[in-house]
């Protein structure tokens, strides 16, 4: 068993006996994209994950999808399961060879692990070797299911288990509760937690509200490949901007691949952070408490009452007294709106999409090459399965605004030379 703060004991390619370069063998969860690692001297066999996987769905060499490959789950010379991709021809190790697939499967059910609770459990229990049970993530799992939150990503370096699990939780708008009976929670707006104690006049408490805690323009960066976000989504709160000025923040969500999940995380966080918050440090509580538990607040120092989740806790072994911090939002949850569609700035085939509203039409502009912004002309563009429309010489195609309502849409594109792609776009007001 390793400590939470120690590097994850990932296996390295050196365990194969022969290897091209010493490096960590990745673990993949949910829908994940990551580089293949050369597995044998013929350069036809490459490894995608240090475990059996549900599927490998696409392989790209230098950003171009290729078809001369098959995949399989196998065992390496040490008897360890691995996910392998077999090419018909040797591949150049100097090129970028990347595969997308659905990663690790649950050891008991065989279902691909994409619930953040399952991923966090697997990292702790099966990689770090911690004595953690699935039941300790049951409430987090149920809440993720309720909110339809799925996760995906890769572990490609030996950052600590604590770093990685916190990253999984925070990516989906959750918290890791290392000392609690339940190890993860959705917060804010998670399921109600039964309060453990009432914080009242018997306890010391100092609420503090700081202007710097207010965020009313929030960007979530997600869909990471090779450590780089491929998409982002921005939400804002107009009422808060009017009251406090525009206060921006950006959050990396490396375990989110889905624009719908990113939108949910952004709107939940913004409904909390766009309003003033009292950060309340309470002490002298005669009960052992931990992050993720809840307290009922009814204290003369603050004219707000209710149940709130503990964000930090200290338990003094000598006195038996606990000190906790809770965050108490002031006022009603504000309305938040999608401010900017999520632009895939490096989607498949190097295709870029921009959306503008002109009168009662949405103008979608398609281009390739981030630097030159070369228009993709005469491409057939279908929106949510509609009859295709051709892009003009500027790479633009127009749809009635009624067809391109705010929210998520699927864009299917067939270029002049027959390349096809399907991209999810998010459209603002």
């Amino acid at each position: 068993m390793s400590l939470l703060s120690e590097p994850l004991p990932l296996r390295k390619t050196t365990v194969w006996g022969a290897f091209a370069a010493a490096g960590f063998i990745a673990h993949r969860y949910g829908v994940a994209t990551g580089a293949l690692v050369q597995y044998d001297a013929t350069r036809t066999l490459w490894c995608w994950g240090d475990h059996a996987s549900f599927s490998v769905d696409e392989v790209k060499v230098e950003g171009v999808a290729v078809s001369d490959w098959t995949w399989r789950n196998d065992v390496d010379p040490s008897g360890h399961p691995v996910t392998l991709v077999q090419f018909g021809q040797p591949q150049d190790p100097a090129t970028a060879i990347v595969a997308t697939g659905r990663g690790k499967m649950h050891p008991a059910t065989g279902i691909v692990m994409e619930n953040p609770a399952d991923i966090a459990w697997d990292i702790l229990a099966n990689i770090a070797g911690r004595p953690v049970t699935e039941a300790q993530f049951s409430e987090f799992r149920t809440d993720c299911d309720r909110l339809d939150i799925i996760s995906g990503g890769s572990i490609e370096d030996d950052a600590s288990a604590l770093t990685r699990v916190r990253q999984v939780c925070s990516s989906v708008g959750g918290i890791f509760c290392g000392e609690g009976a339940q190890l993860g929670r959705i917060w804010p707006e998670g399921a109600a937690v039964l309060p453990s104690v009432t914080v009242d006049y018997r306890h010391d408490m100092t609420p503090k509200a700081d202007l710097s805690d207010i965020v009313n323009d929030l960007t979530i960066e997600f869909a990471f490949i090779g450590g780089q976000a491929q998409q982002s989504i921005r939400y804002e709160c107009a009422d808060s901007i009017a009251a406090y000025g525009r206060r921006t923040a950006s959050i990396s969500a490396p375990w989110v691949n889905d624009g719908r999940v990113a939108a949910d995380v952004a709107s939940r966080l913004l409904r909390l952070r766009a309003r003033p918050q009292w950060v309340c440090a309470a002490s002298g509580i005669r009960k052992r408490l931990s992050v993720g538990q809840a307290v009922t607040l009814n204290h003369p120092r603050l004219a707000i009452t209710g149940d709130f989740v503990i964000q930090s806790a200290q338990n003094d072994f000598d006195t038996g007294l606990a000190a906790v911090t809770i965050v108490v939002p002031a006022g009603d949850a504000p309305a938040v709106t999608l401010a900017q569609q999520s632009l895939a700035f490096a989607p498949p085939e190097g295709q870029f999409v921009g959306v503008q509203t002109v009168g009662d039409e949405r103008v979608l502009r398609l281009w390739s090459n981030a630097e030159t912004q070369t228009p993709i002309v005469n491409a057939a563009v279908s929106l949510d399965g509609s009859a295709p429309r051709l892009t003009n010489g500027a790479g633009e195609v127009r749809f009635p605004i009624a067809m391109v309502t705010p929210g998520q849409h699927t864009l299917d594109v067939v270029t002049q030379n027959g390349n096809t792609s399907s991209t999810t776009i998010l459209v603002g007001q």
């Binding site: 100092t206 509200a209 700081d210 406090y244 003369p300 120092r301 603050l302 004219a303 707000i304 002031a330």
Partner: protein, 104 residues
């Protein structure tokens, strides 16, 4: 006489000496809980000029007024009718006393 007002909805006015009251807006509540308007501090190295206004809160007087905290609100320190200090409320701490940090 020194007194303090925080703009917003509602406008809040605080004084220590009742002789300040005639200078205050008579249409809004006047609260007798001002302890100190603080002193304006500035250096060449730290953050911008700031001062801390302190209010009584022994019995929760300030806590009752600030269920909606005023960070971001405009605060003025006045000597009778003359503004002698002003800035944006950066933070509010509801201890005993209540401390309001204002940044110019």
């Amino acid at each position: 006489m020194i007194w303090v007002r925080i703009h917003g909805s509602p406008l809040r006015q605080f004084y220590a000496d009742p002789r300040a009251r005639p200078s205050m807006d008579q249409e809004f509540p006047q609260h007798d809980i001002l302890i100190s308007a603080g002193n304006l501090a500035s250096t060449t190295t730290d953050e911008g000029p700031n001062f801390t206004v302190t209010l009584k809160n022994t019995s929760g007087e300030s806590s009752r007024l600030f269920s909606l905290p005023p960070p971001g609100a405009f605060l003025e320190v006045l000597d009778d009718a003359t503004v002698i200090g002003a800035g944006t409320v950066r933070s509010v701490e509801l201890g005993d006393p209540c401390a309001i940090v204002v940044q110019g």
